[in-house]
Amino acid sequence: MTAYLLKRLAIAVVTLVLASMVVFAVLEIIPGDPARLMLGLNASADQIELLRNQMGLNAPVVLRYLHWAGGLLSLDFGRSYTYSVPVIDLVRERLVVSLPLALMALALSTIIAIPVGLFSASRHGRAGDTIAMGAAQLGVAVPNFWFALMLIYLFAVWLRLVPGGGFPGWSAGVLPALKSLLLPAVALALPQAAILARVTRSALIEVLNEDYIRTARAKGLPYRLVLWRHALRNAMIPVVTILGLQFAFLLAGTIIIENVFYLPGLGRLVFQAINQRDLIVVESVVMLLVAAVIVVNFIVDLSYAVVDPRLRGR
């Protein structure tokens, strides 16, 4: 068990280090002077020199990387050029919107998908299965930002049940805040749920063909119990894999959805930063999201070991 975990941890750390190098290198290969790029054409030589010093661009590349990476470890991402505040403060302020949104979407997607997958698999080939999977097939094809537009049109413009965008902030109370996150979360979750339901179903169907399912049925367990006790846990391995991959998509999705709903999250921050050529902010947010993906993948690896005793022995 420890050997397996240590190996996965080592891989996660190596990937994280490599990813930070990539992100750093991308800034390095920018054609021309990043400081000039950020300041635009009208900047004076003094301004550029000042920014170069601020960004530490005059130091050798290895030192600069180490300084930057060291900063990351202590959550010091540098200062935003446009906002003139530490990037970490900007990020923190935005994270309280993006993170709850992503988590809500993930939870919604799982809550919808797993029962649908179970239902479909247990009625494999029958009408219920066909209808559920037809719906899932459609769900997979729907772009979440378009779905979001349709939701806004339906619930905000037409029915006026929820706000069509914006975020009152958590200070305005938990309920209004959650309410304004509800539509975005649904828009993010449904297409993902469709994918997850399909994976759950096919994983279950595959497991249900295994010999040990027959052994369990030969014990006299009713089909329903066999499904719950024997099939589901074995089917969790591919399901968890997809959940991990989906987290990456979900993060990316959050960035777009925030723009649909005018939510002041990381996604909005990134686009504003791109428009204002605030590269330090772009770099930091990308690094943060990449780190999140890597951490989630590590958690997925851990959950394999929980589900599958064969990995614990390694």
Binding site: I11, V14, T15, L18, A19, V22, V23, V26, L27, I29, I30, P31, Q137, L138, V140, A141, V142, P143, F145, W146, L149, M150, I152, Y153, V157, N209, I237, P238, A248, F249, L251, A252, I255, I256, N259, V260, V270, F271, A273, I274, R277, L279, V282, V286, L289, V290, V293, I294, N297
Partner: protein
């Protein structure tokens, strides 16, 4: 986890007969062919010229003259969707090409070599996987500026590890087979065996993954264009059309509804096609015959 690859053992004619009896495949094939036909048609003919702005006709609801209505510049939505199809297909196709072209040889090589080379390639794979397509697109556009070309590169890069993984997993399932041992006993090199025996046997797997990635590519391109990082105006693109529609939802909902449906139908068609292919070639349905 091991991947089970059961190899269908029918000839082409048999597979074709089965294919056209399969509802998924048939529906997917028809839809995909239609979308492709519309894209090709748009090179020669569209109901209206999409570069022509007719401000007097702006935001008209669907009518006989404009089936899908017009946008805020008075352009015909149907014509724009037709031209946009080209763009979506081209971007997704090239991106899948990049992913397959680089990913499959890498994955096959990793499986054939094993050991250190395999480890290194798989770690690199993990690395690229850590950058979702949109993130790499953001990085690329932050530096090189937005545009269809950069979108292709971003989506293509993201496709590489997907195909590398699928090819590797497929190849690993083929390598322990006895017919590979037989080929080795006949003195064939690993490269030759990969080309002669492994790749043909994982081709269907790659084909299915290809249609899935094609569909995802269309979604990704639409997403990037929607946030302004993909195809740039005046070239019509589905994602961009949705962006334009967003602020006009109340007055002109058709501006959002129809381009979105175009995306849904195209992606649905490709996914059905992929499902159909997987179904036809899936030996499990045959085993129960």
């Amino acid at each position: 986890m091991t991947l089970h690859i059961d190899i269908p053992d029918e000839n082409l004619a048999g597979i074709l007969v089965k294919a056209f009896k399969n509802r998924s495949f048939l529906a997917g094939f028809v839809i995909t062919a239609l979308v492709a036909a519309v894209a090709i048609l748009s090179f020669f003919w569209t109901p209206y010229d999409v570069t022509n702005l007719v401000i007097s006709d702006k935001t008209q609801a669907p009518s006989l003259a404009h089936w899908f209505g017009t946008d805020h510049f008075g352009r015909d939505i149907l014509s724009m969707i037709m031209v946009g199809a080209r763009n979506s297909i081209a971007v997704a196709l090239v991106a899948v090409g990049i992913g397959m072209g680089v990913g499959v040889p890498l994955g096959a090589f990793a499986a054939a070599r094993g050991g250190f080379a395999d480890d290194v390639l798989m770690r690199l794979n993990d690395l690229v996987f850590a950058f979702p397509a949109l993130l790499s697109a953001i990085m690329i556009t932050a530096i090189f500026g937005p545009g269809a070309f950069n979108a292709i590169i971003a989506i293509g890069i993201f496709n590489i590890p997907v195909f590398a993984r699928v090819a590797r997993a497929g190849a690993l399932a083929i390598w322990p087979r006895e017919f590979i041992l037989a080929a080795r006993a006949a003195g064939k090199s690993r490269t030759l065996i990969s080309i002669e025996h492994v790749l043909p046997n994982i081709a269907t797997l790659l084909l299915v993954q290809g249609t899935i990635q094609f569909a995802l590519g269309i979604l990704a391109e639409a997403g990037l264009s929607y946030v302004g990082l993909g195809t740039q105006p005046p070239m019509p693109s589905w994602g961009r059309m949705l962006f334009d529609a967003q602020t006009r939802m109340v007055v002109a909902p058709w501006m959002a509804i129809f381009p979105g449906m175009a995306i849904v139908v195209t992606v649905l068609g490709l996914n059905l096609l992929g499902d159909g292919i997987a179904d036809i070639l899936d030996p499990k349905s045959r085993r129960q015959r």
